[in-house]
Symmetry: C2
Subunit: 204 residues, 2 copies
DNA sequence: GTCTATATTGTGATAGAC
DNA sequence: GTCTATCACAATATAGAC
């Protein structure tokens, strides 16, 4: 769908998303959003009462639209290694398509934890089932002993961190070569699960 | 040194650091910084010409003060596994003491990549030596094959991410138990290097 | 160096015509 | 629904007394 075919509300949301993501809540200017949307400030207030309300709308969409689908994966009845492979590769792919999301979410999370926590509560992320699955494998002795919380944090870290730190990584590791970095990220859909599974595998 | 013994400039820097870290550049108010420092707004402009200049001063100190020491470790002539153990445990310890730094740096990195990149250039981070060491071990066949860039990114990710995502992790994994989270972070000084080394070790 | 008071500019928000 | 014009206030920055 072309930009021109969107109705005004959609144009506003699209523009607001771009500006909020780039500048954060305080950094963004309503004027800038209006310009980006090709309308004037007054209309922003007509559709959304205030800047805060507009932000909430944008954030909710950006955050909630992509997390539930992938996180439901953790609950499903799939062998552990397979689950890790699916989760990490899909997560990295999603962030590759929406590379601005992690930084955006993490920043607002630190700026206003309560707001974000509330939002997450409505989505309802429950990692307990995954953690239990890990515990069982450890007890059975089929994988190396590990705290399931460490495993889940490490998984998230390796999937998300490269996107948050992208500018710095591009610079000190990839000599500003954007393409090489993109390739590297794509490769990580395979190397990350491999790295994790290598760590969990028993020496035989 | 007690807070009262600091001279005005130091008091300002300390206060500004606290507020900027908490609120970000745009979120921070000069009035708030002045209150925190126990002085008035005018003095802020007397010592630092503008808000931007004040921010630069704070950021440079916060960032540059802790990175060089730890990163020099990567260059030293130490066995790989030992180096990984030292690097990760020290890194996590530093961030434990300065848990606000990662979020602060990463946000400003995304807001103004150029500014931060310039700063890093002056500090001069060079991971080449570490990467070469990894490559050599891979060639010798003493560790699992791995792209050294993946290893370094994974190391950084596992050290830094938990601090950036702290509010969300506390909530969904630790049921808001601050103490349990602090303990978890402390444990990671051991579990993270172990996780990495497990992944690199050859099955024997 | 430090203060109070004030200037100046920004920006979110609203009123009212069309 | 969309616009122009304007308000109200907040925030950075400066002037000038002490």
């Amino acid at each position: 769908m072309a930009k021109e075919d969107l109705n005004t509300e959609q144009k506003i949301l699209l523009a607001a998303k771009k500006i909020f993501v780039e500048k954060g809540l305080e950094g963004a200017r309503m004027q800038e959003i209006a310009d980006e949307a090709g309308i004037n400030k007054a209309l922003l207030h007509y559709y959304f009462r205030s800047k805060d309300k507009l932000f909430d709308g944008v954030f909710k969409e950006a955050f909630a639209s992509l997390l539930p689908s992938i996180l439901s994966l953790l609950k499903q009845d799939i062998p552990l290694f397979e689950k890790i492979r699916l989760f990490t590769s899909q997560y990295i792919e999603i962030f590759k398509e929406n590379h601005y999301i992690p930084g955006f979410v993490l920043h607002e999370l630190n700026r206003n934890p309560k707001r974000i926590i509330d939002l997450i509560s409505t989505v309802g992320i429950k990692p307990e089932i995954f953690m239990k699955q890990v515990e069982e494998e450890v007890e059975k002795g089929t994988i190396q002993p590990i705290d399931p919380r460490d495993l889940i944090v490490n998984m998230l870290a390796m999937c998300i961190f490269p996107f948050v730190a992208a500018p710095i990584l591009k610079n000190i590791i990839f000599n500003k070569d954007e393409e090489a970095f993109a390739l590297f990220i794509d490769e990580r859909k395979k190397t990350v699960p491999q790295f994790i599974i290598n760590s969990l595998k028993k020496n035989v």
